[in-house]
Amino acid sequence: MTSYRRTRSAILEGTKSLIASIGLQRTNMIDIADTSQVSRATLYNHFRDKSSVLRALLESEVDRIFQLIDSDIPPMDALLEMSREISSDAALEMMRRTDPAILAQMLTRVEDPLWQQINEGFIRLLRDQNRSEIARLWLVGQVMQPLGVDQSREQARAIASTNL
């Protein structure tokens, strides 16, 4: 990884841990720089404002879904992994308390091209339109209402193995 990319991913990681501890609304550029251990100048070199940091963070989170889809693990394992990552995500947990409106808005912005990409990814993983739609809605639901480990496992199995 180049040092530019390393710095960028440190900023995104710092931002995420900041959201996990104080929520999205209260997160600002100064704290992002401090938590990520970069200077303010460096931060502004990478991102012009808070919303562009957040956009990049969202894209990198979505990218994690694609890493799973492209890693060739069985669909059931991929769904289970996604479910556990979403249901146990500390930043989402904080946002459910501090920024539920923003979270809901993010999930319903269907015109965002990221959704289209996610849809295509799920079809690649599950090779079926209906199954993909169910899986996507199942995971979206967990952003607002996380599942326990056993529920994740049983439901991932059900979605991956049902004959539709």
Binding site: R64, L68, E85
Partner: protein, 90 residues
């Protein structure tokens, strides 16, 4: 008769250790510095982990190599015991 494969038992043991710690594939793979797909293949018994990588995965899970090997040996012993009973009966 099913053949007992060492790598399948190792994989099962690693997977059950990971899930009992409530950890994701990604989390353990990152800590062990292996790819997520590779860890998944090792857990499913599809790939033989090299000694180096097995060490790394055990370490990421906070397990000693000996405890994993002991666990696996115990599993294999019970599989073999079942088979011997079948052979005796025949």
């Amino acid at each position: 008769m099913t053949v007992v494969l060492l790598r399948e038992h190792i994989g099962q043991s690693l997977r059950s250790a990971r899930t009992s710690q409530n950890r994701t594939l990604r989390d353990v793979a990152r800590e062990a510095r292996v790819s997520l797909g590779y860890l998944s293949e090792v857990e499913r018994g599809q790939k033989e982990a090299s000694s180096e990588l097995l060490n790394a995965i055990c370490q990421a899970l906070g397990l000693s190599l000996s405890s994993v090997i002991t666990d696996v040996a115990r599993e294999i012993i019970s599989c073999e015991a079942v088979k011997l009973v079948v052979v005796d009966a025949a």
